[in-house]
């Protein structure tokens, strides 16, 4: 006993790098590995192929597409030929509208889906009521909901929000429910022994135990939200990146179309990274456990 506490005292005395030093250490460690170079090489290869097809050799129908040079010229120009660049307010209007819609749709889907999924996992009778219904509605593709949502809801905004919310709601609900199913029975028994009320069990076992699954689900669900948002904006929209893509295509200006696509890619990437970061913050125990296993 005393031996073990001495050993750990010794361990605690090793100064861990802090603040700026920690950052430097991490950057050094990152670039000491092969991963970043492979990533850079991968992006380079992809861009090069794109350039060869569109601008270098001008292969067949690829001539209809603007190549990387044409796109970046317009994208970073103060006076873009085809109307959209990082210096035009319109570009940011579209981004802002899409982001706001995602925030609302993803927010509603999460606020409804997580509790519903948890309750479905927790209570047999709630699951019996709702699960079959969800399982029937879930496979209906989001585009099949378009006419119904336009008929049912007023204006442009409501149908778009509805469609973006729906798909991500199903994903979130299902994952939260499976998260509860994944919790080992022994934790429920332990909680019972320790004198928990049913509500204690819900708050201290069901919610934290399902969290890893919930956040996996949220990462998928925010991707699905973007996917269905853009689909909805393309069909029934007045603004937003999805609308920009179809609008540009209709008007035969292809550069804004490509700019909007790439922008969507980046924003989508950042939004799921944000969700992942939030998850890691809330689940320090899970992150540490995985670290311990060398992952």
């Amino acid at each position: 006993m005393s031996a073990s506490s001495q050993a750990t005292n010794g361990q605690n005395k090793i100064a861990k790098p802090q603040g700026f030093d920690l950052l430097i250490y991490r950057v050094k460690k990152y670039f000491g590995r092969l991963d970043p170079y492979l990533t850079i090489l991968g992006i380079g290869l992809w861009l090069f192929t794109y350039w060869v097809l569109c601008e270098g050799l001008q292969v067949w129908r690829f001539t209809k597409l603007p190549g990387p040079v044409a796109v970046s010229k317009d994208w970073f120009s103060t006076t873009p030929f085809q109307g959209i660049s990082i210096f035009t307010a319109e570009y940011y209007d579209h981004i802002a509208v899409s982001c706001r819609r995602i925030l609302i749709a993803f927010g509603i889907a999460t606020a409804l889906g997580v509790p519903l999924g948890l309750f479905m996992g927790w209570s047999r009778s709630i699951r019996d009521y709702i699960f079959p219904l969800i399982e029937v509605l879930r496979p209906i593709p989001i585009l099949a909901w378009v006419p119904l949502s336009i008929l049912l809801l007023p204006g442009f905004e409501w149908p778009v929000l509805f469609l973006a919310t729906l798909a991500s709601f199903f994903v979130t609900t299902l994952n939260a429910m499976l998260g509860v199913d994944s919790i080992d029975e022994e934790y429920f028994r332990a909680a019972g022994c320790l004198g928990s009320s049913r509500w204690d069990v819900f708050m201290n076992v069901v919610v934290p135990g399902a969290l890893p699954f919930i956040f996996t689900g949220l990462q998928i669900s925010i991707g699905v939200a973007w996917f269905s948002l853009v689909a909805a904006e393309m069909v029934s929209g007045d603004l937003g990146l999805g609308y920009l893509i179809v609008d540009a295509y209709m008007n035969n200006v292809t550069v804004p179309m490509v700019i909007a696509m790439i922008t969507l890619g980046f924003i989508g990437y950042f939004s799921s990274a944000l969700v992942r970061m939030l998850g890691n913050k809330l689940m320090a125990w899970h992150v540490k456990e995985l670290n311990q296993q060398g992952r």
């Binding site: 005393s2 689940m283 311990q292």
Partner: protein, 282 residues
């Protein structure tokens, strides 16, 4: 509770009378426990040994209230836990379980885990519970690991913390299901010393399932050998080696004799279990 009290005066006497448990998965009856009776005195360390799959965990789960019993009754200090009118015992903090695979909540730190019981039972305020948990963990040699998560500490430390989590509730009975299985001999030795120390301090009744016969004799006041499935009491061996016991006792003549006696009885049952298994496969 003082350790000077005679064992029979202490709380935590378990009386298992004619208990039968039949599992009924998909209409096929599996009789796990059959007409099993056992008397466990308050403050006694009672070790259960028997062949694999004979129904030991089933018996423990019946006491803890994790499932119903089919026949018979179980009393704790003359109060009915479960019986004919009440097939399933209410789960409660008077009987604390330490699980076969460990069940500290991985999302709570060791200190939060230990503080959990008194907090939800409202026997202590959240703050007092945390500080008492910290003190008790420190007593168990885990003072440097209060803010660690179970996934970050060794299995031995996690198991010690789990026993502390049980003891903070002042249970009458501690139910342990092969808690030290899969631990190396050295860790096991430390675990045994720490459990015995705890026992000497609290005098809690211990119901301990194990496959390790030396462990059974080293820790126990009585070793109950149970038969192959369905589980019944076959033989009880009393261990009259005085406490406190140290590891040297294991090489004493008395210890060897008891070991031989227990071994013989267990071996008989293991052979039966093996033959029954062969018949089932044939």
């Amino acid at each position: 509770m003082s350790k000077n009290m005679k064992i029979s005066e202490r709380l935590g006497a378990l009386s298992i009378k004619n208990v039968t448990k039949v599992y009924d998965p998909e209409g096929v009856n599996v009789k796990a426990v059959d007409n099993c009776s056992m008397e466990i005195e308050g403050g006694e360390v009672c070790m259960i040994v028997g062949p694999s799959g004979c129904g030991k965990t089933t018996l423990l789960n019946s006491i803890a209230g994790f499932h119903s019993i089919t026949e018979g009754s179980i009393h704790l200090d003359n109060e009915l836990l479960c019986g004919p009118e009440k097939p399933i015992a209410a789960q409660g903090a008077d009987r604390m379980v330490v699980f076969q695979h460990g069940a500290l909540f991985p999302w709570k730190t060791l200190q939060e885990n230990v503080a959990y019981g008194p907090t939800v039972q409202k026997t202590l305020g959240a703050k007092e519970a945390m500080s008492k948990a910290g003190d008790m963990l420190a007593e168990a040699g885990l003072g440097n690991f209060l803010t660690r998560y179970p996934g970050e500490v060794s299995s031995g430390m996690a198991r010690r913390a789990e026993i502390v989590r049980a003891l903070i509730n002042d249970p009458k009975v501690l139910l342990l299901d092969e808690p030290y299985r899969a631990m190396d001999a050295l860790t096991k030795q430390i675990m045994h010393e720490s459990l015995l120390e705890t026992y000497d301090r609290t005098g809690v009744t211990i119901f301990f399932i194990t496959h390790d016969l030396e462990e059974a004799i080293f820790l126990g006041d009585k070793v109950h050998i149970v038969t192959t499935r369905p589980c019944q009491l076959k033989k009880t061996v009393e261990v009259k080696i005085p406490r406190p016991r140290s590891y040297e006792t294991q090489s004493s003549e008395d210890f060897r004799k008891l070991l031989a006696e227990v071994n013989e009885a267990v071996h008989e049952e293991a052979v039966k279990a093996f033959q029954a298994g062969e018949r089932e496969l044939a």
